[in-house]
């Protein structure tokens, strides 16, 4: 699992630019599923047919995209003005190393604020070492997207940090699940979705074409175990979290119960997640067509939407066991 997480978090893929991640996942799942399909929004839809013709169609969705910054303007002096791709927090951005798809690197800088001015992306720019706009345009174009350049690293025995844990850690979980899933009665459709960070746009269209009987989103969730930050009853390393609700979806109670029952069979301790904000692909699946019962299985993650998102491998392994137990009855 560790290698999978490392491999997937190393790939470049801000919202709308997920092809590299999709190519990697398709390679990892070759021969493990019955079909691959990419749709107009770039979703990678992998279907593994069930053995029972009357079985359900269960859709899992883990999003491939990560937050990023998009270049909106190049200054005469070669600095890049940017806008956010997904939810960016200026305090997480200052003096961070960032990189573009073509390998060009830069530093995110916040200019001195004028009196009365507040921090926002408008007061930030990326310095890529260019002296003029002409020089900068040889390296980067308006519309190109950057992501945090922080390489992933180990923390202690079980934990890993990387800027793309949201949601590549769940992509790793879903890849690993599909790699090891024996023949099962229900048809399982693993969707690696796009554009979640800008409003789960990918899973909206994927859910429509997949038309599942049941949808389970796999995503990260926030922790409440850090100093001065104890609002949420979620601890890192204490097991995967089964979502009861967040701001965009209320999980189907029967599905929540079945997942907890599966966790019990798998002997994995799970946490109960109530997130007063945010949303996952479950929100899109829930409202698709005539409606779908949904739930989210979450991987606890510290510092979400920063250059150093931290997860615990035991939580990911635990989630995989729960989902295997769920699918295999």
């Amino acid at each position: 699992m560790k290698e999978l997480v490392q491999q997937l978090t190393a790939a470049y893929g801000p919202s709308g630019r997920e092809t590299e991640v999709a190519d990697l996942i398709e390679k990892l799942l070759k021969g493990k599923v019955d079909s691959f399909h990419r749709d107009a929004l770039g979703n990678l839809i992998c279907e593994k047919k069930g053995t029972d013709k009357k079985g359900k169609r269960i859709m899992f969705s883990a999003h491939m995209d990560q937050i990023g910054m998009v270049v909106t303007h190049i200054e005469k002096e070669g600095y890049l003005r940017i806008s956010g791709v997904g939810g960016l927090n200026v305090s997480n951005l200052r003096m961070r190393r960032v990189k573009f798809q073509n390998g060009v690197q830069g530093v995110m800088v916040e200019q001195p604020l004028k009196p009365g001015e507040t921090s926002s992306l408008r007061t930030c720019y990326i310095d890529i070492g260019a002296k003029t706009a002409v020089e900068a345009e040889k390296l980067v174009q308006v519309g190109d997207m950057a992501v945090y350049a922080e390489p992933g690293f180990d923390m202690g025995e079980h934990r890993l940090a990387s800027p793309a844990m949201d949601d590549r850690s769940a992509c790793a979980l879903l890849v690993s699940l599909m790699q090891d899933l024996p023949a099962c009665a229900d048809t399982v459709i693993a969707v690696f979705s796009t554009q979640e960070e800008v409003g789960y746009r990918g899973s909206t269209t994927a859910a429509f074409s997949v038309a599942p009987d049941e949808g389970i989103a796999l995503d990260v969730t926030l922790c409440g175990d850090q100093p001065e930050d104890r609002k949420l009853a979620i601890d890192l390393g204490e097991g995967p979290a089964i979502k009861i609700m967040d701001a965009r979806s209320i999980s189907n109670p029967a599905l929540v119960d079945r997942l907890f029952a599966a966790a019990k069979r798998a002997k994995v301790a799970c946490q109960r997640e109530v997130l007063p904000y945010g949303g996952t692909d479950a929100a899109a699946m829930q409202l698709s067509r005539g409606g779908t019962p949904v739930c989210t299985v979450s991987i606890p993650c510290r510092n979400v939407h920063s250059a150093c998102e931290i997860v615990d491998l035991r939580d990911i392994e635990g989630a995989k066991k729960v989902l295997l137990a769920y699918l295999m009855g």
Binding site: R17, A40, V70, E75, V198, R201
Partner: protein, 342 residues
């Protein structure tokens, strides 16, 4: 259909009938009755059948509706209270001429003017404040409440009263360039060379959250959707270059991303390449804001590859929108040239 007529025709969101009628007639003339339909939200869908199989189904979309005002009640003095339909900045409204009601053969619309306290009566504090829309009134010269309610009952639609005026070098001043300029180009493109199925969608209710396009997208489910829009040019005064978004007269504006959609990366690259090759004036939208039918079309059904081609417009959503004919023509030319490559 000329742009002057299209801009001067009234068609506030949800009440696009006068525009719809014109668009419908043009489409029927081009493709025959059987090829043109309305959907439940009032969008016009004209289908041009494929000449060859295997080509993507392409939708070209432009919205018929314009921002406007809606009468909600009358005061005892015979002034009309109103609300905005679509995003209108209250600061652009005071002292503007408006048409109250729609022109019909039987009954012309009424002249109205949006009133506020005269400068002579204002205190220095008043002058700093922006009057919100619920403190503005439309004066139609009615003597009392009864007369006002008879002439303009609640629910009456109001449009800006701005004659279509060419000015400067190739520039236009009009109401509703957003998005009649796109509608105008869509009608010019009815004969565009393309061998696959082509669906022309004249959508309703864009200014209220792209509702028309949501339904049209679901019904049509195109493979590709090109959205012909206008976008705000913020190129006046001392705006720093980084915040200008785009500039009037410098070509059609292609969006890599806005508030509701990320332009399809392949289409984005293809459009810029075609513009360069054919020397069509073209610029990139240098800001991420707003949204248009592309957001709804991209997400409808199993999804479509979408991108917006916009005409830079100053004073968007005001009584006096300004654009350049160069950019109007560039939008048409780039769409036409792009279709051949699909």
């Amino acid at each position: 259909m000329d742009l002057k007529t299209l801009c001067e025709t009234q068609g506030v969101s949800g009440r696009e009938e006068p525009v719809r009628r014109m668009v419908y007639q043009e489409c029927v003339k081009a493709f025959g009755m059987d090829a043109v339909t309305f959907d439940g939200l009032g969008s016009v869908l004209a289908v041009r059948a494929a000449k060859k199989p295997g080509k993507p189904r392409v939708m070209l979309a432009a919205h018929m509706d314009e921002v406007g005002l809606l009468i909600v009640s009358a005061t005892d003095d015979g002034l009309l209270r109103f609300r905005a339909i679509g995003g209108i900045d209250a600061r652009v409204l005071v002292s503007k001429r408006v048409r109250v009601g729609y022109d019909t053969p039987e009954k012309p619309s009424l002249q109205g003017v949006i009133g506020a306290m005269a400068i002579h009566q204002q205190t220095p504090e008043d002058r700093k404040a922006v009057l919100p829309i619920d403190q503005l009134y439309i004066d139609i010269g009615a003597k009392d409440k009864a007369e006002a309610e008879k002439l303009a009952p609640a629910g009456t639609l109001v449009t800006f009263d701005t004659p279509f005026t060419p000015f400067g070098e190739n520039c236009l001043l009009a109401k509703a360039l957003d998005d009649r300029a796109g509608v105008y180009n869509l009608l010019r493109l009815l004969d565009a060379p393309y061998d696959g199925e082509l669906i022309f969608a004249f959508t309703s209710l864009e200014e209220n959250g792209c509702r028309g396009a949501t339904a049209a997208g679901y019904r049509v489910q195109p493979d590709i959707a090109l959205v012909l829009e206008t976008t705000s040019a913020n190129d006046l005064g001392e705006t720093p270059e980084a915040l200008q978004v785009c500039r009037v007269g410098e070509g059609v504006c292609v969006s890599f991303m806005d508030g509701t959609s990320i332009g399809d990366a392949e289409l984005y690259r293809a459009l810029l390449a075609v513009a360069k090759e054919k020397r069509i004036p073209c610029q990139v939208k240098q800001f991420v804001s707003g949204g248009n039918d592309a957001g709804a079309l991209q997400r409808s059904g199993a999804g479509s590859r979408t991108i917006a081609l916009s005409i830079p417009c100053r004073n968007l959503h005001s009584p006096a929108t300004v654009c350049s004919l160069t950019d109007v023509d560039a939008q048409e030319a780039l769409t036409r040239a792009c279709l051949i490559t699909l």
